[in-house]
Each structure stands twice: as structure tokens, then as C-alpha cells.
Amino acid sequence: MNSLTDKLVIDLILAGNSNAYTVLVNRYKDKVFTLAHTILLNREEAEEVAQDAFVKAFFALNNFKREAAFGTWLYRIVINTALNKKKLKKLFTADIASVTTGDEPTDLNHLLQRYENKDLKKFIGLAIEKLKADERICIALFYLNELQVNEIVELTGMTAANIKVLLYRGRKHLYEALQALLKKEMNDLI
């Protein structure tokens, strides 16, 4: 059953096979949890929101119109549930009038190679947390949830130009934060 497309699994669920939903939960749980964690920055709350989002999605499957992918529809539920948890109405509030320019730090790869996976996970997590909320969420939706810009536009209600600016800034700030963290760690070790 794991090889079935989302649409076929949904057909099975709507036909009365509730257990088929485990396929969708297993398929999307990490991405949903990561998105919730990106918004909330708290593991317990993110897990709760992720579970609630899956439950809401299950009972709303009848209303899923299949114009968008199931993933995109599910991420919308995750975002709304996470915002309710934070008691926020809007996801994006930052002023994005100006675009900072500049290249990514060049010696980052060199620094990254010095660390083990476990440490890298920690540093990347910390670097992501240092981003502004809107940059962080855009980065997660684009790079981790693998959404296209037009899908992020649909989810967030922002313009494509604004999303691109946030992605550009977020990427730059992420590299900078990561480089600063790794350099600090190196200096502390020495």
C-alpha cells in the first residue's frame, strides 16, 4: 500500500478503509512535524500541532477538492493549527521592502566538513532558529517541504516577489548564522 499515490490512498480512506490513513501519516509526518517546529520552535507543541493537523485533515478529507496536492492542503492545515496555537492571525508581518545583496560565505563547506552529522544537525537547527520567523518558514516550505514558489504564495497569501525576497534573505542569513556558529565552536575548541 505504501507505493500507492496520495490520491489512491485518499480514495481508499473515503471508501471506508480508515487504516489506509497510516500510509499518509507515515509519508508526511516528518515534513509536517518539521514545519510545525519551524513555526513554534518547541518540540512538544510541534508534535501536538502535527497530530492535531493530521486528525483535522482526516475528518476534512471529504472536503479536499484535489485541485492542489494533498501535501499542500495538509501544510495549510498545519500552518493554521500552529498559528492558532500561537494565537497569531497572520504568518508574515515583516517589512520586505529592501533586498540585501551579497554572496554566501565561501569557506562554509570547508567548515562543515570538520563536523560529524550529529553536531551538524545541532548547528543547523540553531542557525535556523536564528532566522526571522517569515524567513524561517519560507526556507522550510521551499527546501524541506519541497513546495514551489507558487504553492507557497497560495499557502501564505504573499506575492511571489515577496516570497523570493524572503527566500533569498533567509538563505543568506542562514549561511551567515551557520558560519558564525561553526567559527565560534572552532574558536572555543582552540
Partner: protein, 117 residues
């Protein structure tokens, strides 16, 4: 917009968060509980409705009975006297039969809904 492949790889490898082992089981359990709740709540409402209707039925029966006894010796003040006496008794019988059928109908519906599987 083009993806920064290095960043995409880096994030996919190290930034993806993993849920607890029991995550899927927990979600499915929540769904099962909510499904049961959704089936149980209408049944409860139905049970309460039956009780209310039964109480109302008894109350109306008592009122009609008292009324039928009290009205005859003293008159009503309303000009029911203009109607033949058989009309009043027919009206009372109609109300009683109406309530009996409605209660029986509700009771049958309740029994059908309680069968879940």
C-alpha cells in the same frame, strides 16, 4: 526560482525533524476516539430527547385528564360547549394517539442508531 542545491541537500540531511516512534499510532488512536465520539454524541442526544418527550407526554396526559374532568362540571369560558361532546373526546384521543406514535417512532429510531457496526 532555482534551488540552492547545496543548501537543499544540507537541510534535507540535517534539518529534517523526526517525530516520536509512536506518532502514527497516536494519530490513529486520536482518530478512532473521535470517530467513536462522533457516533456516540447523537445517540446520547437521542436518548435525552426520548426522555424529554416521554416526560412531556405524561405531563400533557395529566393536563388533559385534569382538564377533561374540570371542564365538564364548570364549563370552559371558551365556547367549547358549542361543539358536540364527542369532538372533545375525539380531540383528547387524537392527542394521546399522536404522542404514542411519536414516542414509538423515536424509540425505533434510537434502537437503529445504537447499532454501530
Amino acid at each position: 526560482m532555482q534551488k540552492d542545491k547545496e543548501l537543499a541537500e544540507l537541510l534535507a540531511q540535517h534539518a529534517m525533524q523526526e517525530t516520536d516512534k509512536n506518532f502514527t499510532a497516536d494519530v490513529m488512536q486520536k482518530i478512532a476516539v473521535m470517530q467513536t465520539e462522533k457516533q456516540r454524541i447523537p445517540a446520547l442526544k437521542q436518548a435525552v430527547l426520548i426522555k424529554i418527550l416521554a416526560a412531556l407526554f405524561v405531563f400533557i396526559c395529566i393536563v388533559l385528564l385534569v382538564g377533561s374532568i374540570a371542564i365538564q362540571p364548570f364549563g370552559t369560558g371558551i365556547h367549547i360547549d358549542a361543539l358536540p361532546p364527542s369532538y372533545t373526546s375525539q380531540l383528547i384521543r387524537f392527542f394521546i394517539i399522536f404522542w404514542v406514535i411519536m414516542l414509538a417512532n423515536q424509540s425505533l429510531k434510537k434502537n437503529n442508531k445504537l447499532v454501530y457496526k
